[in-house]
């Protein structure tokens, strides 16, 4: 064992990169669940974004166009789920699982001719001398734009949900859709828009995997990142900043796992791979045992179909 080979500064810098895709997907899913919809198709939307982003970036040799394409692709496939659950009133759990399976298969089909290609590089932002600062420089000022975008997105979602009228309506729809309908809010419309946002975020998260983190296209490359994002939303008890903290925690575990392996540490990697889910289960147990903590509770209408009566 040689812990000395693990550099904490590099560890933190790389965990931010590792956390960004799940953070993007999680913040999207958080908004979707706040609106009362449980979309288990995050994995499928992520990998669709990953392949779409990769293909467009390779074709145009522009990573940013690729990311834009991933956003559009993620939102488009999420509309499949939206039509099924919001218009045809299909079961959300089944539809979400179907979306994941569809996304995995569909992306494998689209990506066949892109295996083994190197995508255009996504440049790191240039902060000039700031990057050269010791410790702070590599951690804060040596990343590509999406790392910063993901943090800004967390801030924006947090502010919008809590301090804007639109955010309040979205929370109301998720908390009690019958009440929201009685007050004249368009429950279905709010939910479809939320699902599209969630799809776009998941798509972007997927593109980050295939364009920056890995970067190449392989079949099934999201490897459970979508599921971690779903677990993260619960772990964060539906709060944006906690999602950020959770993403960095989970990201840290992923990076640490690689580092420990490299350092020859003799703990089976499976334990670390399991840990995000184990932590999420623990959080669920704490949430359900501590009844007084309403602040941790799920949105009241989460996962329930809305039928407008009368």
């Amino acid at each position: 064992m040689d812990f000395g080979s693990i550099n904490p500064v590099i560890l933190i810098a790389s965990l931010m990169v590792a956390a960004t895709p799940i953070l993007l997907a999680a913040i999207g899913e958080l908004v979707v669940e706040k609106a009362g919809v449980l979309n288990l198709g995050v994995e499928g939307m992520m990998i669709t974004g990953a392949v779409a982003g990769f293909a467009v970036a390779v074709t145009t040799q522009n990573p940013y166009l690729g990311m834009l394409a991933a956003i559009v692709a993620g939102a488009l496939v999420s509309m499949l789920f939206a039509v099924l659950t919001q218009i045809l009133m299909a079961n959300q759990v089944a539809s979400g699982l179907a979306l994941t399976l569809f996304g995995l298969g569909f992306s494998a089909l689209l990506g066949q001719s892109y295996v083994g290609i190197v995508p255009p590089r996504t440049p790191k932002l240039d902060f000039g001398p700031l990057t050269d600062l010791p410790v702070v420089g590599p951690i804060l000022f040596n990343h590509d734009i999406l790392v910063y975008v993901s943090i800004a997105l967390v801030a924006a979602v947090w502010y919008w949900l809590n301090y804007s009228r639109g955010g309040r309506v979205l929370r109301a729809v998720g908390e009690n859709h019958d009440s929201a309908h009685a007050l004249g809010y368009k429950v279905t419309r709010v939910r479809i828009l939320s699902i599209a946002f969630g799809g776009a975020c998941a798509g972007l998260g997927g593109a980050y995997l295939s364009l920056v983190r890995v970067p190449q296209w392989t079949e099934g490359m999201t490897a459970g990142a979508g599921w971690i994002a779903l677990a993260l939303v619960v772990f964060a008890s539906w709060r944006p900043w906690r999602a950020l903290a959770g993403a960095y925690l989970f990201g840290g575990i992923m990076v640490l796992q690689l580092n420990l392996q490299a350092a020859g540490f003799r703990i089976p990697v499976e334990y670390l791979a399991m840990s995000p889910y184990i932590i999420t289960i623990l959080v669920l147990v704490i949430m359900s045992s501590n009844r007084a903590r309403r602040s941790m509770a799920a949105p009241g209408s989460l996962g329930r179909s809305f039928h407008a009566a009368g």
Partner: protein
Amino acid sequence: MSIPLLSLQGLTKVYPGVVANSDVSFDIGEGEVHALLGENGAGKSTLVKAIYGLIRPNEGQMLWRGEVYAPSAPAQARATGVAMVFQHFSLFDAMDVAENVALGMDNPPPIRELSAKITEVSNNYGLPLDPHRMVGDLSAGERQRVEIIRCLLQNPQLLIMDEPTSVLTPQEVDILFRTLRQLRSEGKSILYISHKLEEIRALCENSTVLRLGKVVGRADPRKESARSLAELMVGQVLHTPSREAGTPGKMLLKVTDLSVASPSAFGTSLKGVNLSVRAGEVLGIGGVAGNGQDELLGALSGEIRADSEAVQMDSNPVGQFGPTARRAMGLLCAPEERLGHAAAPDMSLTENALLTGAYREKLVTNGFVSWSKAKTFAESVIKRFDVRTPGPHVAARALSGGNLQKFVIGREIMQRPSVLVVNQPTWGVDASAAAQIRQAILDLAQAGAAVVVISQDLDELLEVADNFAALNGGRLSAPRPVQGLTMDQIGLMLGGAEGETHAAA
């Protein structure tokens, strides 16, 4: 005559297979408190939804101060000056009072200003409210205040109130009525929907009675008796349940110092409950919902186990027995929730009859169900209790609330219980079916059973019970004879003011 504030002219709303409203016309004047009366399913809710812009009528029109008024959405109704307090509150538990109010407004001011305004208006109308509290933590009365304040902040001309008092204690009803009278004196109109006739007689100066979607009468409620209004609503002469006075027999059910924790997260645990019921006696237990009613029924039925001696039936300790063992001894229960607790919604009436009748009616032999016997039993319940249904093969879900209630109560009564416990036996049941159920309960007591009726309908309890006790926060007050009990005393009992005396005894 001056132009009415709102005039409904020939409103008709047809749903596939049902005519909810047919040619309904009436006027509401400025500063008038107008009552809309009717049984369940008479079309009251459909009508107010049309006024509030939630649905559009198929025919007819509405005039607001003489101008055509056809709201396509609640926002438009609110802009015109119509506000509505819903029967089932349209509130959001995980949000605070100010946010809830803001959601009901079209152009809410920033939360800080709004909070100040909520405090001001709520104090002006005698409905104090803290804008920063979570709605999920409020009592039913306080939740209703949130709804009312939400309406008042928009300065409406017409306030629609749908069954506003169904969840309130008598004291809370008084506070509400004071507020409503203050609103009237300010020139605002109120459309008041209720089936509690005494309230309407105390508050309203005009009324329209609906039956099966049609207007069947208009009356000044102050000049009518509650009975004549009820008969107008039902369309037939009402039979008041009655029985001959009898002398109570031996003690059949005795509960001593019963304390059990509630199985549900938001339930109320029972604390030191004492009660006793003799043969031929009806004990009425009142209380606002959520004060331990479900837990008390569970502890009596055997769904919640208690100390062996805490529940005694005919001097036998049964506290540790489960429902089946208690049923076998003759202790039968009918819980409040019809669909999902008293009856399995997707199962047929025969299957539902089997569920509780299996043992006492011997519907199972050597572990095998005798379907023909079960069917006969279900048919006999349907026949005796006048359950309107095509037959026992119909799913419980398909029955109307009143008919299913007749079935689940009848199913227990037909098993000749020696002790019967019912929770909310006539909740959501129309007046004639309710009278029928109450009569059956009285007949059962007359025949020598001990009966416990848990209900939130005080009029019902006063009608059927010999003794009255109140549940408050899981404690049961000392029972008092119903004869000579005043509403004020009952209110105090419901508020828990007398709860301690019995705990000490």
